[in-house]
């Protein structure tokens, strides 16, 4: 490390220490705003999970004629997988599986049991249950299944009956996504503005010093770099606090949230995205601290 680099680091740390009040205020603001960004990330994860859960409940089913061979049905399944884009899941349910599912679901009900014994034979048809990501894909699958070559095999496709419901669900989830994205962008911009203005206040308090440094012939580098490092120190310390608070909040809210959103694991989401969360917190805290300092000091270097 060169002597000059050591000097600017020393200046940054002494300024940080000597302006304790301002430093604490800057760290506080950075911590709160970084927590806000982290919160947005967690809310995004939870809402995506909920939307996925709702969308996964939507499917269309193709019911095959009772005498269709399993091999023919699996051929249709393979063709669908090849021709339709982004099919999430295709589940083959044989007549026997359909009957077993029915009994498992309604076996306790006398009415259904009596109805079944009156029919005598297995009344269920083999089917393919298909789940995709968008309404357009459901439409595409419906068109593939309604081709002439499948008319001998397929009894009916229930898309037209479910079409309205599918469109409504996808429209609602898409609106939630758009609204969430809008709110997130506004909050992120708001947080960035707060951090920028805080750094501006910090550097404004040193305006006269910067002026004096320029008058005595200090280079841009010697004036600017200590402030940039100081911005980085604010960000680094705020990251430390923010990360600790995040761990604490995950630990406290874990069981409550898991009860509210069954199947969603807050700690699992945290662990799975650990590096991304660290990157977001470091990037926002240190990155914004450094960039804001760089921009604000530049204004005073024109002396």
């Amino acid at each position: 490390m060169t002597t000059n680099t050591k000097r600017v680091i020393y200046f940054a740390f002494t300024d940080f220490y000597r302006n304790k009040g301002i430093s604490i205020a800057a760290i506080f603001v950075l911590t709160v705003t970084t927590l806000l960004i982290t919160g947005i990330f967690f809310v995004h994860g939870m809402s995506n999970y909920l939307i996925d859960q709702i969308q996964n409940k939507i499917d269309i089913a193709a019911y095959f004629k009772a005498d269709t061979q399993e091999e023919d049905i699996l051929n249709v399944k393979n063709e669908l997988l090849q021709e339709a884009e982004d099919v999430k899941k295709i589940q083959y349910i044989s007549r026997e599986d359909a009957l077993e599912n029915f009994i498992a679901k309604h076996g306790d009900s006398d009415v259904f049991s009596r109805a079944l014994s009156e029919v005598g034979d297995n009344p269920f048809l083999p089917s393919l249950n298909i789940t995709t990501g968008t309404t357009a894909q459901y439409e595409q699958i419906s068109q593939i299944l309604n081709q002439e070559k499948f008319t001998d095999l397929i009894e009916k496709v229930d898309f037209s009956e479910k079409k309205d419901t599918i469109e409504k669900v996808f429209s609602v989830t898409s609106s939630i996504n758009k609204f969430g994205l809008g709110i997130a962008i506004i909050l992120i911009l708001f947080a960035m503005l707060i951090v920028f203005n805080t750094m501006k206040l910090v550097i404004d308090s040193s305006k006269d010093e910067i002026n004096t440094m320029r008058i005595v012939g200090a280079s841009n580098w010697l004036v600017r770099v200590p402030f940039i490092i100081e911005g980085g120190i604010f960000g680094g310390i705020s990251f430390f606090f923010c990360f600790l608070i995040t761990i604490l909040l995950v630990y406290i809210l874990r069981s409550g949230l898991e009860a509210m959103i069954p199947g969603f694991s807050l700690s699992g989401y945290f662990m799975h995205n650990l590096w991304l969360i660290i990157l977001i917190q470091l990037g926002f805290g240190v990155g914004l601290g450094v960039i804001s300092s760089y921009i604000v000091v530049r204004k005073y270097l024109k002396v």
Binding site: N4, R18, N211, T212, M213, I215, G217, S219
Partner: protein, 226 residues
């Protein structure tokens, strides 16, 4: 060392602060610039330091045109000038020692030299006992002496003092003047801007008198006459 060639300064609001000013200051001279408040003294000093640009005309420092210098060159020139101000312009979050050491850091001096020279200069100026104090813990006279220590530590060829005694009592003002005279006797060029009649009359050196932005008198052994 310094040449003003037909320098005029007009501010955006139309006020003419300097009007067609020309003079030369040679190496080793002690020149006082006098005039009433608002006469244009501070603007003239600011122009030598590159803090203000003239509207027309040229200013030369060691034959280099200040008006054509870029930011990097201006910073290099400022390092060759020791400046002292009425409001001291000290670094308030740095100690007495650090204020002087900072100037040597600007010149990229080695640590060994800084450690050796700074206490020497501070002792010479009478602040040897206060190296760990902050500027706000010093009296006005001490702050001005610190400003002088800062101005001379890099051994500049030119010392500019803009109203250095303006905030000082007669005793401290006399001390500052004595220090400036001492610097002149060791070969430094000194430019002193003031409106203190007593100081000028006591000095008996070259005096440039400015009034309403124009040089009205330039005398080798001048007196304060306005």
């Amino acid at each position: 060392m310094i040449q003003f060639q037909n320098v005029t300064k007009v501010y955006p609001n139309g006020t003419t602060v300097l009007h067609d000013v020309s003079f030369e200051i040679k190496d080793g001279e002690f020149v006082s610039i006098v005039g009433k408040s608002g006469a244009g003294k501070t603007t003239l000093i600011s122009m030598i330091l590159g803090l203000e640009k003239p509207t027309s005309g040229h200013i030369l420092f060691k034959d280099q045109n200040i008006t054509q210098m870029d930011s990097h060159q201006i910073q290099g020139m400022r390092r060759k000038i020791g400046a002292i101000y009425q409001d001291y312009k000290l670094l308030s979050t740095k100690t007495v020692y650090e204020n002087v050491a900072y100037i040597m850091t600007v010149e990229e001096k080695e640590n060994e030299e800084i450690i050796r020279e700074v206490p020497k200069v501070l002792t010479l100026i009478g602040l040897g006992e206060k190296i760990h104090n902050f500027p706000h813990e010093l009296s006005g006279g001490e702050q001005q002496r610190l400003a002088i220590a800062r101005a001379i530590v890099n051994h500049p060829d030119l010392i500019i003092a803009d109203e250095p005694t303006g905030n000082l009592d007669p005793y401290n003002a006399y001390e500052v003047l004595t220090l400036l005279e001492k610097l002149h006797t060791v070969g430094k060029t000194v430019i002193l801007s003031t409106h203190d009649r007593e100081i000028i009359n006591k000095l008996g050196k070259r005096v440039i008198t400015i009034d309403n932005g124009k040089i009205i008198r330039d005398e080798e052994k001048g007196r304060f006459l306005i």
